[in-house]
Symmetry: C2
Subunit: 207 residues, 2 copies
C-alpha cells in the first residue's frame, strides 16, 4: 500500500503544461493523490490535479510526488491505456476519470452520459467486444490510435446483418485531451471490411 | 540561392535516430544537399541523408548543415507536409523522396510504382482532388493524420455512383516511416459518409 500524498493541486492547461491553481479555489487544500500502479490519481479532479508525472523519488523523500512540466507523449499514452482498460472491464463508474463532461464524438456534443450510453450500447450489441490497441501515436494534447476488433456481434452492427458471425475490423480514431480528459473524438470504423466479410462469409482479417 | 553543401551522409535508423553510413558505401562521398525553403534535401537519397534537422547557423559557418540526434515530431511533420504538397501538385517525379520503394498500403506491399498508380488513379477519378490536413499527430517514427476532402468525383468512387456530385468526407490514416520515408500506411476512408450524401443528395459535411 503506497502512502497517501497530500499535494497542492496543479491544473493542466489545454496544451498539457501545468499551471498552479487559482488562489482560494477549494481544490487548494482538499486534493489528495494516491499513486496507483498506473500512476493514476484518485481525486475528485482525477488526472487534472497535476500528478500525471508521478516522481517516485520525491515520494520517498516526502515530497509532493508531482513533477511540473509539460505532459509527455508517454504520460498521455499511460492515460489512454487506462481508458482502454476502463472500457474493456466495463468499469463505467470510472469513465469520468478519462472522459470530459462535455465530450464531443464526431462533432456531436454528446457529453459524458451520452458517451457512456454509446459504449454500453456497443457492449449490448457485441457481448464479446474487446478494444485491442494496434498502434498509438501520441503528441500531447492529442492521441491517435488504431484499434482492432475480433468479435461476434448479435443482430445488426452499423445496419449490417452480422447475426452472430465472427467479424474482424479496425477503427482509426483521434482524441484531443483537455485537462487530461478526452474532450473530442474523431473516429472512422472500417465498415466496408465488415460488409465484405458478411458478403463473403469468410470472417477474414481486414486491411 | 542557397549554397550547395557537401555533407557526409548519415542514414536514419528505424526509430528516427541518425547513424553514420557503412564505411565504403558509395554515398559516403557523393551526397550533395541543397537547403530548400522546406528544409528538404535534394540528393539521390533524399531525406535519408541526415539533413532532416538542417541547422542554418552551421551552414553560415561552413559546417555540414546537419544536426545529429533523434528526429523530432516537428521534423516528421515537416516531411509529411512536403509529402502532401507533392500529392496536391501531382509532382510524381518527387514521390520517391517521401515514399519508400517497398511501401505497404493496408497490409498490401504495392511498392512505390503501385503507390504512384493508386494516386494517379485517384486524380483521374477526382479531377479536383485536394488533400487537406485537418489534424496531424506526430511521434517518430509514426504520423497519424486526419485528412479532409471536398470534391466532385466523376463516375463511381469506391463503387459508389457519385457521378459528379459534390461530396465531403474524411480519411483517418497512419504512417510508419523508415529512413525518413513512408514505409507502411493504414488508411480508413469514411465511405459511409459518401453513401449517405449520395442517398440524401445533400452534399453535407461528414462527422
Amino acid at each position: 500500500m503506497l502512502p497517501i500524498i497530500r499535494a497542492a493541486p496543479r491544473m493542466l492547461s489545454d496544451n498539457g503544461t501545468m499551471r498552479p491553481p487559482l488562489a482560494g479555489t477549494p481544490e487548494r487544500k482538499s486534493a489528495v493523490c494516491v499513486q496507483s500502479g498506473r500512476q493514476r490519481c484518485r481525486t475528485r479532479r482525477s488526472f487534472a490535479d497535476g500528478c500525471l508525472r508521478w516522481d517516485p523519488a520525491r515520494v520517498k523523500m516526502g515530497g509532493a510526488g508531482c513533477q511540473e512540466g509539460p505532459m509527455t507523449p508517454q504520460d498521455l499514452s499511460d492515460i489512454y491505456n487506462g481508458y482502454i482498460d476502463c472500457l474493456n472491464t466495463q468499469d463505467w463508474g470510472r469513465l469520468g476519470e478519462f472522459v470530459h463532461d462535455d465530450v464531443e464524438h464526431n462533432e456531436n456534443r454528446i457529453g459524458l452520459p451520452g458517451y457512456r450510453d454509446m459504449l454500453e450500447g456497443d457492449f449490448r450489441a457485441i457481448p464479446d467486444l474487446r478494444f485491442n490497441i494496434g498502434l498509438i501515436v501520441s503528441q500531447p494534447p492529442c492521441i491517435a490510435a488504431r484499434l482492432h476488433f475480433d468479435c461476434t456481434p448479435i443482430g445488426s452492427l452499423f445496419d449490417l446483418p452480422v447475426d452472430g458471425k465472427r467479424v474482424r475490423f479496425d477503427e482509426n480514431v483521434f482524441y484531443r485531451f483537455t485537462g487530461g480528459k478526452i474532450r473530442q473524438v474523431w473516429s472512422i470504423i472500417d465498415k466496408a471490411a465488415i460488409t465484405a466479410q458478411i458478403r463473403d462469409g469468410n470472417g477474414g482479417a481486414t486491411g
